[in-house]
């Protein structure tokens, strides 16, 4: 009984680890990607946007299947990984992180890209003529102005990774402490007809998701309210 509990706790820890690492990677990759797309004026933009949005419509198992093949030691990405790290990529923690990053990419890139497109670029011009270089402008103008979108992007990326099932099932297997995440644990409980445990896990995931989303919406709402107020007073004579 006790080990049952600790198994679920372990799955929770693994899930949080995967989600946290994925979110960090997503922000690091997604920010420049979103910036580049927001400024891109080539007709290739539509194609790249469609590629990034693909995980939104593609069945996760399809993505997982192709990733599994790519990660296997018989194929180039898997081979390359093995020669660099000395470990097999498929069925590893790294594999589900990579899978999660690809799968959650649109959830991070899309809100950021939208924010960057709406950003008043004359503010960046203004900053540049006041001596602020590109990084300086990012930290002190872009980041604070797009704070809400960054929080939305990070939360969506995190939550989506936590809820991820199909891809992880295909490429992660079910190794406790390595690739056994909450959604897989839940599936196991259901398969074993252990509905009590399944209920507990499902319910905690549900509550957790609602709490996270509520926090994000609350934050965005208060930001909007603040901006709305200032807009109103600006219009006053």
């Amino acid at each position: 009984m006790e080990s049952y509990w600790s198994q679920d706790i372990l799955a929770l820890v693994t899930t949080l680890k995967v989600a946290l690492v994925s979110t960090l990677i997503l922000l690091v990759i997604g920010t420049p990607l979103a910036w580049w797309l927001a400024k891109l004026q080539s007709r290739w933009r539509v194609l790249i946007e469609a590629l990034i949005a693909l995980p939104l419509v593609l069945p996760p198992t399809v993505l997982g299947f192709y990733l599994l093949i790519a990660f296997s030691p018989q194929h180039l990405p898997g081979q390359w990984w093995q020669s660099v790290t000395g470990q097999q990529l498929a069925f590893s923690f790294s594999a589900i992180v990579i899978g999660s990053v690809i799968y959650s990419l649109p959830f991070v890139v899309q809100p950021l890209q939208k924010a960057f497109e709406q950003l008043d670029h004359s503010l960046l011009d203004s900053g540049a003529t006041l001596g602020a270089g590109p990084l300086d402008r990012f930290w002190h103008i872009i980041l604070p102005l797009c704070k809400a979108s960054f929080i939305t992007a990070a939360t969506l990326g995190f939550a989506h990774t936590v809820g991820e099932f199909g891809v992880v099932l295909m490429i992660g297997g079910n190794i406790p402490g390595e690739t056994r995440v909450l959604s897989i644990a839940l599936f196991d409980h259901v398969e074993a007809f252990d509905y009590a445990r399944a209920h507990l896990l499902a319910f905690s995931l549900l509550i957790g998701s609602i709490a996270v989303l509520a926090l994000v919406y609350l934050f965005n709402f208060s930001e909007q309210k603040q901006q709305g107020l200032s807009n109103q007073s600006r219009q006053m004579p």
Binding site: S122, D125, A128, T129, L130, G131, D136
Partner: protein, 408 residues
């Protein structure tokens, strides 16, 4: 001399910027032109925000752009501040934090922060969010922020066009003060000739991406009188007459003869061909440049050299400096072939006609008073009726209220 050397090309959809010009930025240099003439693009090339510009830009012996040498200095390394029509304040920061943004990044440290805050009157607003400020206040913060950056050159791109008259006046005075106090070279772009007339010492006129005309402010304005670009006017630098008592709400002013030389180029001021009407009392029988100027040089306070202006129209700034820029609309000046008497019109100056430009039913008559040109717009009908001719002695007259100024 503070020199900006430009040889810039930049292709745009509606025009091609093509400028080869040396700007003397000892005073404020104005760039005048209608929207779409390329003024803003030119400024963006100078500050480096426009990256598609080619050619070369040399500011005070420092090369900022040289396409031939593949040299492009990034805008953040140029130390050229740029104030835009919209204030472009950082909305996530307070007024104080906006100013701090510039202060943290400045390279020199000569302009005292408190002094600028006092000059701009921003003290009570320092803690406010910039989004809560009025348009005038926002622009004031933008100007203060740019000055506190201590730029080597300040580019002002239509900084006042979104403001009402009251705010315009305040900010113009502020810009002029900042220029006088801190000697920041300024390039001021606008489509409003009034603003330039008040603060610029030199100006250039832009059209279709090219500079059509450049020179001393009054000269260029007077040359524009014959284009359709501005309202016809006389542009003057005036000094408040020192020992004179102000009476009845009027202030006597003396005008400088700063533009005399260039105006008289190509225009013959006749000495011989002068018809002196019988009932006109003139000191000398020979009227011409020399004799009129003699009166001035002799220090004799001839009635003709003085102008009267409504004291209420003279601002605090002008009183402080005892000098002001004024303009008189050509439609406010009338001509008389005889010395007018018993008139309520206080300004009556004797001069001679140096040019008459007739455009359909309207005529622009240039009258030289002590070598200074005055422009009167009268009907072609009057030109005929009065039988006006070049070289003729006339009296121009205008009300005290016709002398206008923007700076208060």
């Amino acid at each position: 001399m503070t020199v900006l050397n430009l040889g810039v090309r930049c292709q745009r959809r509606s025009f091609a910027l093509n400028i080869d010009q040396q700007f003397d930025l000892t005073g404020i240099h104005g760039i005048f032109g209608h929207s779409g003439s390329g003024k803003s693009t030119l400024l963006r090339c100078i500050s480096g925000l426009e990256k598609s510009g080619t050619g070369q830009i040399i500011w005070q012996n420092r090369t900022l752009l040289s396409t031939a040498d593949k040299c492009f200095v990034a805008p953040e390394k140029r130390h050229i501040a740029h104030v835009f029509q919209r204030s472009c304040l950082f909305p996530h920061l307070t007024v104080q934090e906006n100013l701090d943004f510039a202060i943290k990044r400045r390279v020199t440290n000569n302009i005292p922060i408190d002094e600028i805050i006092e000059l701009t009157g921003l003290q009570p607003l320092l803690a406010s969010k910039v989004t809560l400020l009025s348009g005038g206040e926002q622009q004031k913060v933008a100007l203060a922020r740019a000055i506190l950056f201590e730029p080597e050159l300040l580019l002002l791109d239509e900084p006042l066009s979104a403001l009402d008259r009251q705010n315009k006046r305040q900010l113009l005075a502020l810009i002029k003060r900042a220029h006088m106090h801190y000697k920041i070279p300024m390039l001021y772009v606008t489509h409003s000739i009034d603003e330039l007339q008040q603060i610029a010492t030199h100006m250039s006129v832009m059209e279709n991406g090219q500079i059509k005309l450049t020179g001393a402010i009054h000269n260029v304005i007077h040359q524009l009188n014959n284009s359709a670009m501005i309202e016809q006017q006389t542009s003057l630098s005036l000094t408040i007459a020192p020992q004179e008592a102000k009476a009845g709400g009027l202030t006597p002013l003396l005008f400088h003869n700063t533009v005399a030389d260039s105006v008289e180029q190509g225009n013959v001021i006749t000495k011989d061909n002068v018809t002196v009407k019988d009932n006109v009392t003139v000191k000398d029988n020979v009227i011409g440049k020399d004799s009129v100027l003699d009166i001035d040089k002799g220090g004799e306070q001839d009635v003709n050299t003085k102008l009267y202006m409504l004291t209420s129209n003279i601002g605090e700034y002008a009183l402080q400096h005892q000098a002001l820029r004024c303009f008189i609309m050509a439609s406010d000046i009338s001509l008389c072939t005889q010395e007018p008497s018993n008139s309520s019109i206080v300004n009556q100056l004797r001069g001679n006609i140096i040019a008459i430009d007739i455009n359909e039913h309207q005529a622009l008559v240039t009258v030289s008073v002590n070598g200074h040109p005055f422009y009167a717009s009268i009907s072609a009908f009057s030109v005929n009726t009065l039988d006006l001719a070049i070289g003729q002695i006339v009296f121009i007259q205008f009300k005290a209220s016709a002398i206008q100024t923007l700076l208060k």
